[in-house]
């Protein structure tokens, strides 16, 4: 029975109680959705309104600029975003985060695809043992300090590689890929093997192209995770502020109660007007926050179906 038929069947006997219930549910969801979305909107309008109006708390629902005769008028300006180039250390944080998102995600996807394929091979020596060896690490960790000491021992403190290498083996993603590959008809792989293709070749020419949906899913999860990463930067990069990730930088900005001099780098080629527009520390915080949210909001609508697919596959792991 299709959804439409089901709706039609329900439609026949809708009592007053049903109507009230339906309306209540719709109001409830509209309210909750508003609560989920409004903060993002509020953040946005505060970065594109006149900064004086923001400071005096006049910007509540729509972006406002000062009108000529002293009032306020609907409008927007982007000077805050332009002035970001003068915020200290923000550039390096963005570079580091973009780099780790690209390199880290790519390597993680390749490793997961490779390992996920290999663990489907029944012939491997001690296959199930090695599979468990990988999966167990999801449920067990040695603790924060031993982990930190281990990274220290590997020379991965104050080192960009610390963002890349430990994230390469992601057991959960390996499980997802494995589950997906097992659903691919075995005959495709077998025929290639009969034609004389090696394991690597089968992986490259058959498995990877057929697994694109799941690889895209884990790539998106990985990219979001890398973009949002904060803890490893906080723990490992003590002597290398230039390697802080964007979220770590933002955390520092949010907690800095010092004056703006600390945040704004001295000199530079920025225009007077833009510099003046950054006189509000809150606005800097809001604008940097917006910058780190925007990529996720941009990518999100296109990727939602992959997210859903990912969580569903995860539910039938094994």
């Amino acid at each position: 029975m299709s959804k439409k038929e089901k709706n039609a069947a329900q439609h026949i006997k809708r009592s007053t109680g049903d109507w009230i219930f339906d309306i209540a549910v719709i109001i409830l969801f509209t309210l909750f959705t508003f609560i989920c979305i409004f903060p993002f909107y509020y953040l946005l309008i505060n970065t594109i309104s006149d900064n004086d109006l923001v400071t005096s708390g006049r910007v509540n629902f729509i972006p406002l600029l000062k009108a000529a005769e002293g009032g306020t008028v609907f409008g927007m300006q982007f000077n805050n975003y332009i002035a970001l180039q003068n915020v200290q250390d923000l550039g390096s944080a963005i570079t580091v985060t973009v780099l780790r998102t690209i390199i880290g995600t790519a390597l993680m996807v390749i490793t997961s695809a490779w390992a996920g394929y290999l663990v489907t091979k029944q012939k491997m020596w001690k296959r199930s043992f090695w599979y468990r060896f990988l999966v167990i690490t999801m449920y067990f960790n040695a603790g924060l300090v031993p982990w930190y000491m281990n990274m220290l021992m590997m020379g991965l403190t104050d080192n960009f590689l610390a963002y890349i290498i430990p994230g390469m083996v992601a057991p959960y993603n390996i499980i997802l890929v494995k589950t997906y590959i097992e659903s691919i008809p075995a005959s495709l792989e077998e025929s290639a093997i009969i034609d004389g293709a090696s394991t690597t070749k089968v992986w490259m020419k058959i498995i990877v192209p057929l697994s694109i949906p799941i690889l895209a899913t884990i790539a998106i999860f990985g990219a979001v995770g890398n973009w949002n990463s904060f803890q490893d930067s906080l723990l490992l990069m003590n002597n290398r502020p230039d390697l802080y990730t964007l979220q770590h930088r933002l955390y520092i900005y949010l907690n800095s109660s010092s004056n703006l001099g600390a945040m704004m780098s001295q000199g530079g080629t920025i225009s007077e007007q833009a510099a003046a527009s950054m006189l509000n520390q809150r606005v800097i915080q809001y604008t940097v926050s917006m910058v780190s949210i925007i990529p996720i909001l941009l990518v999100y609508p296109f990727m939602q179906r992959y997210f859903v697919k990912g969580i569903m596959l995860g539910a039938v792991k094994g």
Binding site: C36, M153, S289, Y300, M312
Partner: protein
Amino acid sequence: MQSTLKAREPQVQAASLSERIPLWIYRLMALLAGMALFFPPANPGRVSEKINEAASLFTTAVSRGTITNSMGRILRSQWIQDADITLLMIACAVVMLGVLACGAGACMSLGNTAMRKKGLLPSLLGGPVMAVGLFLIRLTYNRMLAHGTEVDKLDRIGIMLPGGFWVYCAFAGLLFLSALIALFTMDKDTHGQNRMEMDEKYKLFLMMLPVILLSFIFAYLPIWGWRYAFFDYKPGGTLSADNFVGFKWFGSLFNDPATVRDLLRVLRNTLIMSGLGIATSWLPIAFAVLLAEVRSTKFQRVVQTLTTIPNFISWVLVYAIAICIFSTDGFLNSFLTNVMHQTGANTNYLQIADHTWLKMLLWGTWKGIGWSAIIYIAGIAGIDQQLYEAARVDGANRFRCIWHITIPGLMPTYMVMLLMSIAGILSNGMEQYLVFENAMNKDVIEVLDLYVYHIGIGSNQIPLSTVVGISKSLVGVTLLFAANGISKAIRGESII
């Protein structure tokens, strides 16, 4: 087709026992030597006490910074010459090269006779190469010793020959010896099969090996750090028999009044916040069930999309949003002032410690409910529509349908989620609490993970925080197995 398949199967001659034993010894030695590359106590290159104790052979070979990071004065005054450090790095790299050659030989020894024969070359070479590297380390040692005597600062630079040096000497010797024995005992008759082949099972294993090693290094090796729990360790210090304290730190979890007080407070916060999370874990089901009752699928999709967004932003950004809504000059206050015309609305709600647990729960719900509901929404879509039809024919209204069909249909998924959250009751992560923590709510917001971070990284009490971490890990694993056992007993399915 059968015959083609057969012809491609590599025909690997079974090796005799006398041939296999030296090979197995060889592989074992190569594996141990390879692992020791990343194992600081076995570092043959730590020829001075001033070289970082946490530097492994691998680190010594590749990272000059790690070697020299505690040598400031020594290097500036040239008590140890830069050239000697370069020599040390080269020496360590040569040792590594030898180990790698042995590793390659060990891998090739898994193949057929032709491959094993070829593999003997790197196997036999590996030991001597390691010996050359060790000789270079010895040379560095001698040079540093001579230079140290010359400038009369031997006591300051602490030149020594580390235990790892002798360990690697043993490795080199044993590897060479077993390769030599293998050379003599090996059956060199290839039965006319001169192409190098390897059993499929070993080939696949070797392809998997890099992944296994990475997993070992980053997920299993940290367990070696548990040893800090048994020493009076201070950062920058050393572990030795002198500061070995046995189970003193474990005891302090129960004996030391300050620690006990902290732990009880932290455990209370942890359990309450996890408990609140578990108590509200039915909310995503309610969300999904109610959303499924909405007739417009477009509305459903929009709500689902928009309510999932908060799940994909980090806790730092959630905190940024909290600031823009609830801080002194945030939305709430300016709304009260400008729209409701209330005077004196300038409370910083984030600085108020009241109801912290509830607030944290609400933030968690705000961030997570849309995402958690997805799995139940998909679950509802998977329920057989005929059940609803049949129920309606029997006169059930929609509430009875929900109660008797939808909710029972979602129960198995819910049970898994519930058991997993019970197993993770001690791990609520630290990011959320770290970002929301301030001087006001410090006492009520600190959960176990955050406490471990504060005492371990913040105030450098490494042994104590290791002990807390170990206890937490062990309890977590026990709970997980218990949850798994319950799941097996009730549902006949395991959850891990």
